[in-house]
């Protein structure tokens, strides 16, 4: 056990001397989470849109998504390994990506659904009144107005996934969790802390970056 001052010195030393090594882990982490989020958006946003036109399906889909969210990450990996070993993909990136995609569904679907439902009924009426088709109304009116909330859902999912991604290392998916795990095996506090800080910083940067995009994607008139 070492004092706080030593710990900080050790940490800085560790970051400096293992810079490329940490960068590699970070890149793996970003690839894993990034790929999962893209897939999650492709599935989740259309599902959210569909939910906004079918309220019966909405409650079913949201219920299923919230059950998915409840499943502990390690347990989800544990369940997926035997299932995916049927196609010889039990350990590695595939179960990790599937798990991250499943976890992202609730925030993305829920926010898309709420955002579209929250669009002022008067605006919708006006859109119908000037003769837009349902599809045109969706693209031109509802989605632009819903954009900030949808992006917020994507942001929540991303930050969450960066944390879960740290556990994915345990089933061989790589990423920053690896530094923490090695720290545990070697009982090396510096490494554990270095890994934790790297994950937290990555989450904060992702959060900031997505807020920026959210701002870019938000039509001027919708900004508060």
């Amino acid at each position: 056990m070492c004092s706080g001052g030593d710990l900080i010195v050790n940490l800085i030393e560790y970051f400096v001397s293992n810079f490329t090594f940490i960068l590699g882990y970070t890149w793996d982490h970003i690839k894993l989470v990034g790929l999962a989020i893209i897939i999650a958006i492709v599935i989740g946003v259309p599902l959210g849109i569909y939910c906004s036109v079918n309220k019966y399906a909405a409650s079913t889909i949201l219920q299923i998504a919230s059950i998915m969210m409840t499943i502990p990450s390690l347990a989800l990996f544990g369940i997926m390994i035997p299932v995916l070993s049927l196609i010889n993909e039990g350990i590695g990136t595939l179960p990790a990506i599937i798990a991250l995609v499943l976890y992202s569904q609730l925030p993305i679907i829920r926010n898309t659904y709420t955002a579209i439902n929250n669009v002022d009924p008067d605006i919708r009426d006006a859109a119908n009144g000037i003769g837009l088709t349902t599809f045109q109304r969706l693209i031109k009116v509802e989605l632009p107005n819903a954009m900030p909330l949808i992006m917020a859902g994507i942001r929540t999912a991303t930050v969450l996934n960066i944390g879960v991604g740290a556990i994915a290392t345990l089933i061989g998916a790589g990423g920053l969790g690896g530094i923490i795990y090695q720290g545990i095996l070697r009982t090396n506090n510096t490494m554990i802390l270095a890994g934790a800080i790297a994950v937290a910083v990555l989450a904060l940067i992702a959060d900031l970056f997505l807020r920026l995009i959210e701002n870019l994607f938000t039509p001027k008139g919708v900004k508060k």
Binding site: N54, L74, I91, I180
Partner: protein, 249 residues
């Protein structure tokens, strides 16, 4: 239109259940829960450890986070609120694995390190929700209560806490569900729990160990989640449920 929508919803539900049933049939057919029957004593011990870690840390977190949330929302300390909320937000970006690992670094291997780690980790959502719940109480309502001569303590107990209860229970619910998952990692710091079988399964590539550990952990999380959803309904005064409904409609 309505009927088609209902039918589609029903089909989605049926597919979900079918997949679930198929999964269990497949798992049973391949004897994947065999460890539970073969080693019931070990199973019960691991389950007991798991629940102990979760409940001890959760209870301690409630006992600290709720009073702390009340404390920082008092007018005198309002100025420090942003700081606490900021720490709570920041803290949640630290992965649970790291919190466990750090606790081990300072407290050594064993169940107490796991309890401390989970305690710290569950403080954040409970604190966050307590503060949010108390902040959401309508100022007019508090004003009316003050004007009628309720003391600050009476306002807290009769008005603020009942109105913040939904949010506080939601925080406890989130914290416990996260804890059940994090406790599965407690094996890594020698604290036992059902994670022992999951990790053994990963290491030995043994599906029976994997499933006998992972499925009970999942069920535990879902049961606790539903239990608290029910509590949220049962404990929250009826008038507030109506208020919420009125707001959402």
């Amino acid at each position: 239109m309505d009927r088609t929508n209902k039918t589609i919803a029903l089909i989605i539900k049926l597919i979900f259940w079918a997949l679930l049933i198929a999964f269990f049939v497949w798992a049973f057919a391949n004897n994947m829960f065999s460890k539970i029957w073969e080693q019931p004593d070990t199973f019960l011990r691991l389950l007991g450890e798991h629940i102990t870690i979760v409940l001890l840390s959760g209870a301690a977190a409630v006992l600290l986070a709720v009073p702390l949330g009340i404390f920082v929302t008092r007018p005198k300390f309002r100025k420090s609120e942003w700081l606490i909320v900021g720490i709570a937000n920041l803290g949640q970006t630290i992965p649970s694995l790291a919190v466990l690992a750090l606790a081990m670094g300072f407290l050594g291997i064993g169940i107490s390190a796991a309890v401390v780690a989970l305690f710290v980790y569950s403080l954040l959502p409970i604190l966050q929700n307590t503060i949010a719940g108390l902040d959401s109480v309508d100022d007019n309502m508090i004003d009316a209560a003050k004007g009628m001569g309720l003391t600050n303590t009476q306002i807290l107990w009769k008005i603020e806490l009942p109105n913040a209860l939904t949010s506080i229970i939601a925080g406890v619910r989130t914290a416990l569900v996260i804890n059940i998952g994090t406790a599965a990692l407690a094996y890594l710091i020698g604290a036992g729990g059902l994670g022992v079988w999951i990790f053994t399964g990963i290491r030995l590539f043994d599906n029976a160990f994997l499933m006998s550990g992972a499925v009970p952990v999942t069920l535990l999380a879902i049961v606790i989640d539903y239990l608290f959803k029910w509590l949220q309904f049962a404990l929250v005064p009826k008038g507030l449920r109506l208020a919420r409904k009125a707001q959402n409609s």
